[in-house]
């Protein structure tokens, strides 16, 4: 019953519904990429710079080396979504962990954790990501870790704020007086109540991570063994005056996906925020 209520509230936001459907489509595309295009998407298969529609074999054309753009978009959806999800997971785990401990214990633990978070926040995010990728090497895993490391601070602050407001509530005090361990109070009592806004934030981090990955790849520091959308934009940059579709097609894919993720985030906010329940 409660679940249907949640879905109903989510669906009341039309934008979120459209966003969720499109994201689902992208996810399906990513899941079945190898079924539609069994060969390596980075294989040179045709003449370079064929415009979309010029050759029916390549509906979205080919890039400057003669690789099938449609195949790279479909396979790129997988890389791009995976990077987004895993980076968001890394950021959420770090953020929730740090925020929960800081908010629950307070005092010097809080001071240290929040000063550390501020330290991370003062470094421009993109430059920090680039630095980490350059030092660790540009592989998919390292890019995910780098994005996770720069994206955890807002989640940590949000979690801390929730914990601060919840830690002295009666139900928590009741747990304490029952002699429940701190760990158990954090994980099973406070966290479930603190989670809804964090989930909304995490969904936005996915969108942010996709943009970070695109920027990193655009600057030529992406993993060259993986077809990602950002790399496609970066490769096509030189040709923007003559073969603009090479940049435009993956650019549109990135834009739609990020927009949809933001809409889904809004929808989650509507569905999870009890204050908006009766809107």
């Amino acid at each position: 019953m409660q679940r249907f209520e949640f879905l109903g509230r989510f669906a009341r936001n039309r934008g979120a519904l459209v966003g969720a459907c499109l994201i689902l489509l992208v996810a399906l595309m990513a899941a079945f990429a190898s079924v539609f295009f069994p060969t390596d998407p980075l294989r040179i298969v045709g003449l370079p710079e064929l415009w979309p529609g010029e050759d029916p074999e390549f509906p979205l054309g080919t890039d400057s080396l003669g690789r099938d753009i449609l195949s790279m978009i479909v396979h790129g959806a997988r890389a791009t979504l995976l990077i987004g999800l895993f980076a968001s997971a890394v950021a959420t785990i770090i953020g929730v962990g740090v925020g929960a401990i800081a908010g629950y214990f307070g005092g010097w633990v809080d001071e240290i954790a929040m000063r550390a978070a501020e330290l991370f926040q003062t470094i421009p995010n993109l430059i920090f990501v680039l630095t980490i990728v350059v030092i660790l090497g540009s592989t998919l895993t390292n890019i995910v870790i780098a994005i996770g490391i720069v994206s955890w601070t807002p989640i940590a602050r949000m979690t801390r704020a929730e914990f601060l407001s919840l830690r002295d509530r009666e139900f928590v005090q009741a747990c304490r007086s029952m002699g429940m361990s701190d760990f158990r109070i954090i994980v099973s009592e406070i966290l479930p109540n603190a989670l809804p806004p964090v989930i909304v934030l995490s969904s936005l981090v996915v969108a942010g991570a996709i943009l970070f990955e695109s920027a990193v790849s655009f600057l030529g520091l992406g993993d060259p063994n993986v077809a990602s959308w950002g790399r496609l934009v970066g490769d096509g940059r030189q040709l923007i005056r003559s073969s603009w579709y090479i940049c435009a097609i993956p650019g549109i894919a990135i834009m739609i996906t990020v927009l949809c993720l933001n809409l889904v985030g809004d929808g989650l906010n509507d569905a999870l925020n009890p204050k908006l329940r009766d809107r």
Binding site: D40, L42, R43, I44, P48, S64, L65, G66, V134, G137, S138, G220, L221, P224, N225, D235, R237, Q238, L239, I240, R241, S242, S243
Partner: protein
Amino acid sequence: MTIKVSRRVFSAGILATGVVGTSRGSFAQGTPKRGGTLVATWGGGEPQACYVPAGGGSSPTFSSSKLFERLARRKMDGAFEGVLAESWKPSADFKTYTVKIRKGVKFHDGKDMTVDDVVYSVSEIWKKYAVASALTDFAGIDSPDADTVVFKYSNPTPEFFFASTLCSPVAYILPKHIYAGSDPVTNPANNAPIATGPWKFKEWVRGSHFEYVKNENYWKKDEPYLDRLIIRYVRDPAGRAAAMEAGDIHIGVFNPVAPPDIKRLTGTGKFVATPKGYEEAVWSTTLECNMRNPVFAKREVRQAMFHAVNREFIAKTVYYGYARPGTSPIYSPNKEFFTADTFKTGFDPKKAAALLDAAGFPKKADGKRFTLNLLSAGWFQENGKVGAYVKQALEDVGVGINLTVPDRPSSIKRIYTDYDFDLAISNQANPSEPVPSTTQYFTTDGILKGVPFRNASGYSNPDVDKLVASIKVETDPAKRKALVFEFQKIITQEAPLLPLVELESITLASTKVQNHSNDPNFLAASWGDLWLAS
């Protein structure tokens, strides 16, 4: 007048639509017009300093060569011509060279240039920084009288080698009264040089441009024709194309814009593109095998790497035809030393597979013979594309490839310091004289950990070392040529490092700019003779 103008536009249009840089011998017509400001750019970034004693790459070479002058230069036809030197002559044993220095040359601060400046520059700057690797046999320099200096060598030194050293891009004559007693590397004059050239330094607006003004007391009468020369830096090729199209920049050297933009801009009839002016600095994209990996112990395996790759495809697709397949470590525009009679490692995947089979690397169950790390140096965008293609080509013959494309500092560190690669795609630019710039990629003494653009493959062969040593001291031009031919035959068969393609660098200029691309290393020429038609 109207008819004249439209005819020029028309002829430029014909030029532009045909193959780049055809017919017109020199980009000049009529009598030079005086005055005006020329704005130039190049296909790279701002230099670390206006002048770097050790060279510091093409960027400071470009900015400093308009101010400083060398003793000599090469002309388009290959002949040597004195600049600050009037003539030079070897002794009978080729161990000393007597050089006559030009009289009446003044530095920009009004002081006379004398033999003392030459002696100081050669012994303190050339030997220690600028052309150290070409002066290993250098034993000192004297000045017997006020217009003569004598170079002394411990071994016979071929005349072509000596003249090439005088023409080296940063072998400048510096003012002793400004540099003596200081550390030349950190001398503040490096960022506001006092020199002898046609252009005087006015200012450097960092992040934007250099402004140079006419040297009124230049020793070459009538030059420079222009009043001002601006070197502007634009980071992005697309930005350069836009600035040139808007008329803000008149000339761009060394591939200022992306190939598709070259076609677009020359198509308007307002620009010409030419590959001329790079004969003494031919760039190539190379593939090298790290000999520290036991897989490459047999030369057949190294040859197979090259047989697997279609160099025509790279030239045509990655470089849009502004490149040609490389066949030898000495490049084809080199009139003195290039030979086509070398060991051939052309595109032949079947042969590559057969060579690998025979070398004891059959395909395993997963379809791979072995897996290699391919590092493609990220300083040129094209290298990443070459890497992507080479990966596919090698995978087609059963060699697994992990491709990485690190940025410039990481690439230099991983190739030339850490030797952290199995195959590397890099670039080099070489003048006609093969010693040491070409040979140091193959000789044992070129294995210098941490020194970029040397022997990173680790290839060491006593026969090659001996051959290069004899090339260095052979003073008979015909015999020397035969030795260099022999060198090319051995290296192409041994294949530790070979060019995939020779790059055609392009200068793009407004049709108004006259007298450009008239030097075999135009980027490093003085540009005193350039002028702007109205």
